[in-house]
């Protein structure tokens, strides 16, 4: 019997049974029917939610926001379980497996409107990484995200304003605060510390040494991950732009907010109605750390690898989660000669298109072999994961200003100055802003990053003089201690990151925008700014808070203009919350537990 016939047969028999029951034993059937109805109308259980975040050792700010949220959810009658996961484990839970209800995390880089596209567009649902981890789908927002990518000038500006209003209204995730970057350094041996948030190498070129030959610049970081994996596109890796910029060059780099030529001498931009093309010319004589020349083939290979890390081997492409927003814009890439490559985009404005130039350039001869399926001890473990996404890349080979020297897991990472790099050979060829800052060369041969677990330990090493600066961002709780130390300088800068509460919109009741808006209103952003950040943050209202794109009616005005805190001075107004939830169709048990809908 074919499948079709099979189905029909079942349907017939089921109908027959139904009919016979109806006629034959109306009494019993009626009774069972009532039983079924009653069974489905049991008093629902208390609503339970799992809130996931990292422990204090990894990010004390996220832990504290998580605690506040958990306490407030508990107060309104939700059964909360606050679970702490180390950073890589949290990534696995949230960004790969989507096993969560709510999570608190810092999203690393949200400076431009196009960064919202991979985060929220429905076409990215089901991809791993920061590609729509909320599983959020909304036609209106999709259209606005696409429109802003094509439009320019004031038209785009208007679209981005509409987009923010829509996002703020629906709260697929709750923007909490934009933190300041806090770092500390000593000024006895090295001076002129000026930190760039994105790129450690740009910070380091500005450093001057008081002595002529200093062999090693000792630094400290709390990010042990840099001693475990140096693969910039690994699934579980955090945004390691800081460190990967040491090893890898990109065609262009963001310098003071615009993309400037770096490994490229420049690019020609041409646009028609539909298509934008970038024709990029590489600098002559670029080489990777192992001596292999860097050519246009490597650039084209990198873009192809980011778009599909299986390089066409798998049935379904496996894009690299990182740089996904950038790689997904590129329509085609063509090598014109050894030093020229043409990138074509459809429906992308030039301002957005040039972002592709900031991805690291990978050597084809190293990475081509990583396009195979990922394996553990020689066994294929997945048909959807490639080696490129799980490889630890223990000794990275790039063309960047520093070469890998050695690494001891959870203890230290040592890198060497790459004297063949343009930054040392001929800095005047680089963008003026970099060239100016870089007058006397990098004043050390080696960079040693020591790993500690806590900010307290990092600051201890700094005050005792064992290291000259902290690389990782410090928590606000150590700021008073920095102030007490004479020899230590504090650096506070704006950061491009954003603390968010992510909602798994596939889980009830988080699919309900009314409930997500309630969660936003359980968070007192002003108290968080003062108590958790010690003032070193700005409360976030829109996901683009901290950029010039936020319209005046969405800016922080002492309170959140759209979703003000449900209460005063950190304590909740329970009455008001109950009536809000009742209006939204929720019910409470006799002992004020919030019930599942």
């Amino acid at each position: 019997m074919s499948e079709e016939q099979d189905k029909r047969a079942t349907r017939v028999s089921r109908r027959a049974v139904l009919a016979s029951t109806a006629i034959g034993s109306a009494g019993l059937a009626g009774c069972l029917g009532r039983l079924r109805t009653v069974r489905n109308q049991d008093i629902p259980d208390q609503l339970s939610l799992k809130v996931l975040t990292v422990p204090g050792d990894d990010d004390a700010v996220a832990t504290q926001i998580g605690r506040m949220l958990a306490d407030n959810l508990n107060t309104i009658g939700v059964n909360v379980d606050l679970q702490l996961f180390p950073e890589d484990e949290l990534r696995r839970k949230v960004l790969v497996n989507q096993e969560y209800d709510l999570f608190i995390s810092a999203y690393q880089n949200i400076e431009r409107p196009d960064a919202l596209r991979p985060l929220l567009h429905s076409s990215f649902v089901g991809e791993v990484g920061w590609q729509n981890p909320f599983e959020f789908t909304d036609i209106g927002i999709d259209e606005l995200l696409e429109a802003q990518q094509q439009q320019r000038g004031s038209q785009r500006r208007r679209t981005v304003v509409d987009l923010q209003h829509e996002i703020v209204r629906k709260q697929p995730f709750i923007p909490v605060a934009v933190p300041d970057l806090i770092r500390a350094s000593r000024t006895e041996e090295f001076t002129n510390w000026r930190w760039s948030s994105r790129d450690l190498s740009q910070s380091l070129v500005r450093v001057n040494s008081r002595e002529a030959d200093t062999d090693t610049l000792p630094l400290v970081s709390t990010d042990a991950q840099i001693t475990r994996s140096l693969n910039p596109i690994a699934i579980q890796s955090r945004n390691k732009g800081q460190i990967s910029g040491l090893f890898y060059d990109s065609l262009g780099r963001y310098i003071d907010g615009t993309v400037e030529p770096w490994a490229a001498t420049g690019w020609d931009l041409s646009t028609t109605d539909e298509e934008t093309t970038l024709t990029v010319t590489l600098r002559p004589e670029l080489t990777f750390h192992d001596g292999t020349p860097l050519t246009a083939d490597d650039v084209a290979f990198t873009v192809e690898l980011l778009q599909d890390t299986s390089l066409g081997e798998f049935e379904v492409p496996v894009p690299a989660p990182r740089f996904r927003g950038r790689s997904s814009m590129v329509e085609s890439v063509t090598v014109l000669d050894d030093r020229t490559v043409k990138l074509a985009f459809s429906n992308v404005n030039p301002q957005t298109a040039v972002r592709i130039l900031t991805v690291p350039i990978f050597p084809e001869h190293v990475w081509r072999s990583k396009a195979r399926p990922a394996e553990i001890a020689g066994v294929d473990i997945s048909e959807a994961v490639t080696e490129a996404l799980v490889w630890q890349n223990p000794e990275p080979i790039g063309s960047g200003p520093f070469k890998f020297e050695s690494s001891v897991e959870d203890e230290e990472l040592v890198v060497q100055r790459n004297d063949a790099h343009l930054l040392h050979r001929n800095p005047t060829a680089l963008p003026k802003q970099v060239a100016e800052r870089f007058a006397d060369g990098i004043p050390f041969n080696r960079l040693r990053i020591q790993i500690v677990r806590s900010d307290d330990a990092a600051l201890g090493l700094l005050t005792s003089g064992s290291v000259d600066a902290t690389v990782s961002n410090l928590g606000p709780s150590v700021v008073p201690r920095i102030g007490r130390e004479q020899s230590v300088e504090l650096h506070v800068e704006r950061s491009p990151s954003l603390y968010i509460i992510g909602c798994n919109t596939l889980k009830e009741p988080l699919g309900n925008p009314h409930f997500r808006r309630l969660i936003a209103r359980l968070i007192d952003k002003e108290t968080i700014r003062e108590e958790v950040f010690g003032g070193f943050a700005r409360p976030a209202t829109s996901p683009l808070t901290g950029t010039e794109w936020v319209p005046s009616d969405l800016r922080w005005a002492g309170v959140d203009p759209e979703l003000p805190f449900f209460g005063t001075n950190g304590s909740l107004d329970i009455e008001e919350i109950h009536s809000y939830l009742r209006d939204a169709g929720f019910e409470f048990s006799d002992n004020d537990n919030l019930l599942q809908q």
Binding site: A60, Q64, E89, G460
Partner: protein, 289 residues
Amino acid sequence: MTLLIQYLQLVTVVTVCLGVGLYTIVGPARIRSFYVDYRTRLCHGLAHLSVLGTVFGISMYWRPIGGEVSWTLEYNITHTLYSIEGYLVPTIQELATTKLTWALSLVYVFGYVFLVLFPLVSYLFLDTLRPFRVTALSYIINYLIGLGSYTLFIAYGPRNYMPGEVRGLMYEVWPEIEALTTHINTNTNVFPSLHTSLAVTVALLAWYTRDSYPRWFYLASALAGTIAFSTMYLGLHWGTDVVTGAALGITSVWAASYLAAESDEQSRITTTGQQLFATAGDYIKQYRP
């Protein structure tokens, strides 16, 4: 480098403490009489020490694997521990002063290692080795149960769960020690407190041997109480970990004294050890020219 220095520092301080302890607690008379039959005593003790050493070695080796197992099982009990006791640890931390923090940190690190090692040394000088055997066995039980619990449960300490409210006091005054503590254990293994369970174990055993070493009983109880308190004061453990740890300590001593043989001849570990050592000795003799 820093790690090596930390270990050297620890070894030096503890060795000095053990030396002073031997002189003041064990006393010259017992040390002199030890010379008479020290070979037999060491020989008898060695079998138990080897077993203990093996268990310790296995537990160090198991920790990273156990960590992976914990994350796979995912019994994350931190929130439960917090729900049980709430603000106990932050309340204790209201007592914090720099001097107290230093004192308790030193006791937590050096005092603890001394407390745990001293019985293994001093009980070799007693007339009977039974207390020594009970000590070794109860340590083994502590380790095995502790390891089982660490593998089964994921539990972060108050310092990690309530940052902002609970301070990592020890790392603030003594950042260098972090290298040592993180080398020995991971921050997800707080339930139960092995510091407390072993300290309680030692204090209980000291009570049993109080007739021989009266001073040790007072010192051991004082140290044990201080250690249990310091784990909470320093923000490393929950009160629940400490209570469970104390229960584990008591259980292990009870179980060990039940299991341990009355005499060396009855102890299966000692006799098996003797046979093994003898065989090994013969083996070496055979191949030596």
